[in-house]
């Protein structure tokens, strides 16, 4: 169908020869790998994730134990390529291990919120009526807060800790995802295929799983993918404020705050953890842009 519109609009002579059957997924993957940015971002993410997972293989230092006599060594010191922190711990080691916490606290909340938000939005969109009003008005209450501030309020009430930071961020992202899922659901349930499935005798669970969820998935996925960068920044921000990872756990945001006092002693060591937060957030943002672009076949 896409090719038909292209032909009528473009009117290029001989364009019929280009028409070949592509699967939707194949086309999307092709469009994805054709973007240099997408490949670069994927590369950075794979390196970050692998190095976090394989941290014990890449370094012999202990992320929690430092040598007092070697405090605040500069970047480029032998055996400490990224220097040492205020307690003499190897910064490179702490960055590697820190990736486990920092990436997880960025990604997990979006996944939790995607599941719960889709459930809420799809229920509201499918059932409509007072259920939808109740659910979505409840979601609206969370909309009245700037995201980071709501996360701060929730996690400070729950108390510091990674688990509570993840809960706080999940709650923050449920409201926007549920709204996206609601809009997507409302668009799908009025379409003819959905009506046809209903008339052919599909029961509610079948309709929801086989027809609805499958069709709103890509919309929710693209939106949620875009939130991971936001989530990584917010999670690091919470830790920076003392609401996320507790000392002495290695976590990028917390490391940045702990090193902040040594700003005038070893400025470039202080800058290291932030560089990794930036790289992770940037890679996820570029990746979500690329996925969005690759899925947007119609406008091509």
């Amino acid at each position: 169908m896409t090719t038909a519109t292209t032909n009528s609009a473009g009117g290029a002579p001989g364009a019929e020869t280009d028409i070949a059957a592509h699967s939707f997924l194949g086309e999307v993957v092709h469009r994805f790998v054709c973007q240099k940015m997408a490949l670069g971002a994927s590369g950075i993410l794979i390196i970050l994730i692998l190095s976090a997972v394989a941290a014990p293989l890449l370094t012999q230092h202990d992320p929690l134990r430092g040598v007092v006599s070697q405090r605040l060594q500069p970047v480029g010191t032998p055996r400490h390529p990224l220097g040492t922190d205020e307690q003499g711990r190897d910064v490179f080691t702490r960055i590697l291990y820190g990736g486990r916490i920092s990436l997880a606290t960025g990604i997990i909340p979006v996944c939790i919120a995607a599941v719960l938000g889709t459930a809420i939005g799809a229920t509201a969109g499918y059932l409509g009526g007072w259920v939808a009003a109740l659910l979505m008005r409840t979601m609206d209450m969370f909309y009245a807060f700037p995201a980071l501030l709501l996360a701060i309020a929730i996690s400070s009430s729950l108390g510091p800790g990674i688990k509570n930071a993840i809960i706080a961020l999940s709650i923050v992202f449920i409201a926007p995802i549920s709204r996206v899922a609601l809009v997507a659901t409302r668009q799908e349930v009025v379409k003819e295929y959905f009506e046809a499935a209903r008339l052919s005798g599909a029961n509610t669970p079948q309709l929801i799983v086989q027809q609805l969820l499958v069709n709103i998935f890509s919309t929710v996925f693209v939106y949620a993918a875009g939130l991971i960068g936001v989530s990584i920044l917010a999670a690091a921000g919470l830790s920076f404020l003392g609401l996320g990872a507790k000392p002495p756990a290695p976590e990028w945001g917390y490391m940045l705050n702990a090193l902040r006092g040594s700003l005038y002693v070893q400025p470039w060591v202080v800058a290291v953890p932030g560089l990794f937060i930036f790289a992770a957030a940037m890679a996820f943002n570029l990746l979500s842009d690329a996925i969005n672009e690759a899925l947007d076949i119609k406008s091509a």
Partner: protein, 314 residues
């Protein structure tokens, strides 16, 4: 139009109630014990009960909510036992300082975003467009607290051009104030620059594809004249996004204020987190959330006035 404005104003009331419910729930219903921070570590259960009664925590939640709302309408945000002061006093000055920073950052960020976004749309597809789009993604991805630290490293520690912390000395003049503001404003506005640039570029490109642009070209208008028409038509979504940024900056300033020791709401919240004084955090969040709702309402109303098509209703 008056009717639309009144409807919009009325619609903000349930939102504000929602805000108050969320804050109240966070204060008293979550597992954390609000009394922990107020009591000495060796307090007996008897002391705890006495304090609970004194603050009114022994009453059922709905009663406490109503009492709390009554206090709020009188401008009473409670008393901070760690700072030994009324919370409304603490918030008063801090709020002014935060608004000052947020407005300056919003003005700078939106102006930059509009300029860069327009430029990118005009050279669509060329290297400058790609460079600007990259700058926008960087703005969205960069941790503000890291940028703040980098700025201090470069401009305070090395070049010694700008002060690393504080707002102004008591006897400071305008120039000193300005110097104190440059780095906090730069650091806070990056996200706004990113969002506004992307939105401006996308809306302008969409408008350039509309039929009326071709009509204008056919009539023989210059590119600059066409740009004016396009900008006017692309304005509503850009205004919405830019307006939201003012509110976000109020809330997002926590990290930047903490680093530059800017005496605003963010620093107040950071200190309250360190001393586990939940009441200050909740009060500060409440005040910012109310401002956020009102700022969004103001943008909404402004849109209604500027764009006649929105006047007919929701």
């Amino acid at each position: 139009m008056a009717r639309t404005i009144v409807t919009r104003l009325l619609m903000a009331i349930p939102t504000l109630f929602g805000v108050s419910i969320v804050i109240f729930a966070l204060m008293y219903i979550l597992p954390g014990d609000p009394l922990v921070a107020l009591l000495p570590p060796d307090a007996q259960p008897k002391d705890r009960e006495a304090l609970a009664k004194q603050i009114g925590l022994d009453k059922p939640a709905p009663v406490r909510y109503i009492n709390w709302l009554k206090d709020l309408t009188r401008g009473d945000l409670g008393y901070s036992y760690t700072r030994k002061r009324d919370i409304s006093d603490l918030i008063g000055t801090a709020f002014q300082n935060t608004v000052k920073l947020a407005l300056a950052a919003a003005a700078f960020g939106i102006a930059m975003g509009l300029t860069l976004g327009t430029l990118a749309a005009l050279v669509n597809g060329r290297w400058l467009d790609r460079a600007i789009s990259m700058v926008a993604v960087v703005g969205l991805s960069v941790p503000v607290f890291w940028v703040a630290i980098l700025l201090i490293i470069v401009f305070s520690a090395n070049l010694r051009w700008l002060p690393a912390s504080g707002m102004n000395s008591p006897d400071g003049d305008f120039l000193t104030s300005l110097k104190h503001m440059i780095m906090p404003v730069l650091a806070s506005s990056l996200g706004t620059i990113g969002v506004t640039t992307r939105m401006t570029r996308a809306s302008l490109l969409q408008m350039y594809g509309e039929d009326f642009v071709m009509t204008l070209r056919a009539k023989g208008l210059h590119n600059a004249q066409i740009l004016l028409h396009v900008l006017k038509n692309a304005a509503p979504p850009i205004m919405t996004v830019a307006g939201l940024q003012v509110g976000f900056l109020l809330g997002g300033s926590v990290l930047v204020e903490t680093i530059f020791a800017w005496p605003g709401m963010g620093q107040l919240i950071f200190q309250a987190i360190s001393s586990r004084d939940l009441r200050i955090i909740q009060a500060a969040v409440l005040v910012i959330a109310i401002t956020f709702v009102l700022a969004n309402l103001a943008v909404d109303l402004l849109q209604t006035i500027v764009n006649p098509r929105l006047r007919r209703g929701v």
